[in-house]
């Protein structure tokens, strides 16, 4: 059935849809460290890169089943993130941002010079041998990432992250081990970026270290900021728009970056919290459906 549905979509649209899916995974990952924990990362493309090369090399050298490969790429990326996060997450704000930026450049240069990543030529990734078609796998990972994000956001772990975002000193005096939680959220964030990178590598069939440069990091950040930092529906929305935009704006060729820029400027002026920032999406939908009329839940809880 799925096969039929997938076949009815033309390859070009499919390419865009998969790009959107991968964009959502990456943006939701970044949302955890930047949106929830409030730590600005300007180097998230590096984690995508680590995941992409880890995934590609696993396929080429070991040929592990693709599903395990996705998990392993994510795990490898998470370990790298934890190792780098331990020293640099002591920094905050601009300093942290610059550090992550530097780290991303290092990763790029290292991959451009390593024999195993085929230097500047990049790697050609064979199509994985899977029972499910690639777009469907991406869709499944997207769903899992959304579920995981929602789960994290409403968990004790997620609340601790939000507390760190709002006030580190107060969070610490409430008994939250800031260093540990920051590293953990960095690792979870990188895990998602790694799986996204792995899917990207296998879907595209070719990766080059230069694809994961500063602009890619900024792309990811724009998705999160456009939709609304810390908001899952917002991030999904932002990622969808910005992943599809380059295609719809193709007629403008090199001028499309102008539209990007203008869009972000207008958003910052009119909706500084992001397009969907500050909206409690669940209760909004429930209210629209008439399930939970305005005000009832509140008066009930206050009594």
């Amino acid at each position: 059935m799925f096969q039929n549905m997938l076949n009815s979509i033309d390859p070009y649209s499919m390419q865009i849809l998969v790009n959107i899916g991968i964009g959502i995974i990456l943006a939701l990952g970044l949302n955890i460290i930047t949106g929830l924990t409030g730590q600005l990362s300007l180097g998230h493309a590096a984690f995508m890169s680590v995941g992409a090369f880890a995934g590609a090399l696993l396929t080429i050298k070991t040929g592990v089943p693709f599903y395990i490969n996705i998990l392993l790429s994510g795990l490898i990326t998470a370990v790298v993130a934890a190792a780098i996060g331990w020293p640099i997450l002591r920094l905050t704000g601009d300093y942290l941002a610059i550090c992550t930026l530097g780290f991303a450049e290092i990763v790029k240069v290292v991959f451009l010079n390593l024999e195993i990543t085929n230097k500047a030529l990049g790697l050609t990734v064979p199509t994985p041998d899977t029972s499910l078609p690639m777009p469907l796998i991406v869709l499944i990972v997207v769903c899992l990432t959304i579920i995981a994000s929602a789960f994290i956001q409403n968990s004790r772990f997620g609340r601790a992250l939000k507390a760190i975002r709002d006030d580190e000193i107060a969070a610490e005096s409430m008994g939250i081990n800031i260093a540990r939680y920051k590293v953990q959220s960095f690792a979870v964030s990188a895990f998602m970026a790694g799986t996204g990178g792995c899917l990207y590598a296998h879907f595209l069939g070719y990766i080059n270290p230069s694809d994961f440069g500063f602009l890619k990091s900024i792309d990811m950040l724009s998705m999160v900021v456009l939709g609304g930092l810390g908001s899952i529906p917002g991030t999904i929305f932002g990622a969808s728009i910005l992943s599809a935009a380059p295609e719809f704006l193709r007629f403008m060729s090199q001028y499309r970056m102008l539209v990007y820029g203008a869009l972000l400027v207008f958003m910052m002026v009119f909706r500084p919290n992001g397009l969907m920032g500050g909206i409690d999406f669940t209760s909004f939908v429930l209210r629209k459906l008439g399930v939970k009329p305005r005000g009832v839940s509140r008066s009930k809880e206050v009594q």
Binding site: R159, A160, K162, A163, D167, E172, S173, M174, G175, V302
Partner: protein, 234 residues
Amino acid sequence: MLVVENLSVNYGAIRALHQVSCRVDQGEIVALIGANGAGKTTILNTISSIVPSIGGTVLFEGEDITRVQPHLIVRKGICQVPEGRRVFARMSVQENLEMGGFILTSKQEISQGIERAFTLFPRLAERRKQAARTLSGGEQQMLAMGRALMSNPRLLLLDEPSMGLAPMLVEKIFEIVVEINKTGTTIMLVEQNASMALSIAHRAYVLETGEVVLSGDATELSENPEVRKAYLGE
């Protein structure tokens, strides 16, 4: 209960505290008063391990807590209401209180704690779902205090609870401080508003440029001519 001995703290090359000693006994309200930059907040921050000391010890219930990591202090039974309240701005009142009970493990304990906070501050119950940043200054102070009480501290450190509040609210807050103390929580209070602080405290320490210059019974101190002149506006 709390014994601070010869505590010294430097901020870079600047000496903030010089061999400060003080103690707080079970059930007391102890006030630290003094001018700006006297080191009042530094004492609280050093007890909470937010600021490292270069000398001296902090003993709490006989245990040396001088080098305990800041996030573990609350587990020892000490909680600080920081200067400027520092509520979690984008989280709701309810979530703020839940965060206060972060070290509690049972859901029941947390909901009991929240109920207690709402009894103490009925105002917060009305604003349960509101983001903390939308509260007024007084409400934020109440929230910060309610949040700190969630962890059931035996010693509550209050830093400038009257800061930026209208006189009527200041009185209200101080009444609640006395009420909290009566339920068995020992309180160490840092305050610019010396007359208010001395009116509710059992004992007080007067600090000047990082040193304790006077200490004693709060009523005696408030009759001391030097204190009256320097801090009570006479």
